[in-house]
């Protein structure tokens, strides 16, 4: 039963991911991306990780794709402008799938245990308490470093987007007054 549900959701995920890449209109792709994130969070729910599932939706579907749609609406992209030729797309897809298969095959040969079943999770697995304890106690350094990285990114964006407030020249003002 659970297996069937997993294969169903995984299949739908692949389908929606494909549609993200192959729909001509950017906003349609964004919509399929939202569906994809919903399905991903379904997989997390199957694993019993409720917190990660909800956060996945909050961060990706609730914020990041909203930004995508915002940018798409703002730029008003036309379908022709972004299509880079069908053959190129198909080639890149096939190449990517081959590379992925090769990596998985190498992993399987190098250490077959990676593809075996993981040990069962504890009873408190996936709850917000267990998640935070793991994050703050066991992985506090990587957690802090990730936070620092994000902070640096925010400062960088601020620097890039900052523009000095332009001082109006008195000459322009006079011209305007004359025009009025």
């Amino acid at each position: 039963m659970m297996d069937l549900a997993f294969y169903l959701v995984a299949g739908l995920m692949l389908l929606s991911a494909g549609l993200v890449a192959y729909r001509p209109k950017p906003l349609e792709s964004a919509l399929w991306l939202i569906l994809h994130f919903f399905l991903t969070s379904t997989l997390y729910v199957f694993l019993g990780a409720d917190f990660v599932a909800v956060v996945q939706l909050l961060v990706y579907a609730g914020a990041i794709v909203v930004l995508f749609t915002f940018v798409i609406l703002l730029l008003n992209l036309n379908p022709q402008e972004i299509s880079g030729g069908e053959s190129l797309r198909w080639t890149s897809t096939v190449l990517f799938l081959c590379a992925l298969g090769a990596v998985l095959f190498c992993l399987h040969i190098a250490s077959p245990s990676l593809l075996e079943k993981m040990p069962a999770a504890g009873p408190s697995f996936g709850s917000i308490e267990a998640f935070s304890r793991m994050m703050i106690q066991n992985y506090s350094w990587s957690f802090e470093i990730a936070g620092l990285l994000l902070l640096l990114a925010v400062v960088g964006v601020g620097l890039l987007a900052y523009r000095r407030p332009s001082h109006r020249k008195p000459k322009d003002l006079e011209n305007k007054r004359e025009a009025a």
Binding site: L27, E28, F51, V54, L58, A63, V66, L73, N76
Partner: protein, 351 residues
């Protein structure tokens, strides 16, 4: 252990009760209240002909909206044009699933263990509410894009920018509540407010939260996405009949959700008064049906106050200018919320 059949029936009862109350009673009554208060504020009558005090006006309007011709303008992007109103209602309905509307109750001895008056018992309830309300922006963006109308697109753009900006402030205000109660389970958050409501230590957080929820529901003074004077009515310009009705319905039900959230987070949920519990005046809200009903009505009364506040503010304050809106969100509310987290976290560590 309880009988599973009874539990399933209880769950079904909760779903039917809650949805019929919110969609069938709160939304129509709120529309009537809105128009009557508007009349009061502007020194005119408002609807007063259909039924006593015009109470059946919303019903009449609803029948009109359903019976109207389902108009689809030329040039709209069709599946998306029809999808947008549906996407507006789905988050509005989903977000009720985790709102507890009363204390855990045994319904006068019907159950052995107290059952929660909450449709889905999720241990991440608060984050779920935030997530689902943030998803409502898609219906607006989609409606604007699919309508093939420049005013609609402008409205959708404004709505997306506004919702993202104010979601941050609201989220950070909620973080301080999570710090105060040490949980994201809404029932647990209410239980931690038994002595002292979170509004007292978290007043600053509430000050950030209130404008943020007004902006998230696109209500005046933040209704720039549908500013009538500039954009016709923004993203739902091209919608009529029941499709417009769905947008309208979702606006009022999201208002109900955020009002309930405000009551649960800051105003003690169903707790009687700060410093005075139901047990102090001799009422057992867990084991007697009357007590449970009183607690639920007290919660409903608090939510009703917040709904009235929405209406009151709408007909009192003028609309912000767009740069004022963005300035308030990013330059005032966001730093204030971060500062507030620092204060509360420092207080909790050192005191």
């Amino acid at each position: 252990m309880e009988d599973t059949t009874i539990l399933w029936l209880f769950l079904l009862g909760k779903i039917v009760l809650f949805f019929s109350v919110v969609f069938g009673m709160v939304a129509p009554i709120m529309i009537w209240v809105e128009r009557r208060v508007a009349g009061l504020v502007q020194d005119r009558y408002g609807p007063n002909r259909v039924g006593p005090f015009g109470l059946l006006q919303s019903l009449a309007d609803g029948i009109k909206l359903v019976l109207k011709e389902a108009l689809i303008p030329q040039g709209v992007r069709n599946p998306y044009y029809l999808l947008a109103p549906v996407l507006a209602v789905v988050p509005a309905a989903l977000s009720f699933a985790v709102i507890p509307f009363g204390p855990p109750t045994t319904l006068g001895g019907m159950f052995e263990t107290p059952q929660r008056l909450q449709i889905a018992n999720l241990n991440v309830g608060l984050i779920f509410v935030m997530t689902v309300t943030s998803l409502s922006v898609y219906s607006v963006a989609l409606a604007g894009w699919a309508s093939n109308n420049k005013f609609s697109v402008m409205g959708a753009l404004r709505a997306s920018a506004q919702m993202i900006s104010y979601e941050l402030a609201a989220g950070l205000a909620i973080v301080s509540v999570i710090l105060l109660s040490g949980s994201v389970d809404l029932v647990r958050i209410v239980e931690t407010q038994a002595g002292l409501w979170h509004i007292f230590p978290g007043f600053l957080a509430f000050l950030v939260f209130l404008p943020a929820i007004y902006a998230e529901t696109n209500r005046t003074p933040f209704d720039l996405p549908e500013a009538e004077a500039e954009l016709v009515v923004g993203y739902h310009t091209e919608y009529s009949g029941i499709k417009f009705g769905l947008f309208f319905l979702s606006e009022y039900s999201i208002m109900t959700t955020v009002s309930s959230t405000a009551v649960l987070l800051f105003f003690g949920g169903w707790n009687l008064l700060p410093g005075l519990s139901w047990a102090d005046i001799g009422i057992d809200i867990q084991n007697t049906i009357l007590g449970t009903l009183m607690a639920v009505s007290w919660f409903a009364a608090k939510v009703a106050f917040f709904l009235f506040l929405f209406v009151w503010v709408r007909w009192t304050l003028p609309r912000f200018r767009y740069d004022q809106l963005m300035g308030l969100g990013w330059k005032t509310l966001l730093p204030l919320a971060i500062f507030n987290i620092l204060i509360i976290a420092g207080f909790m560590v050192f005191a």
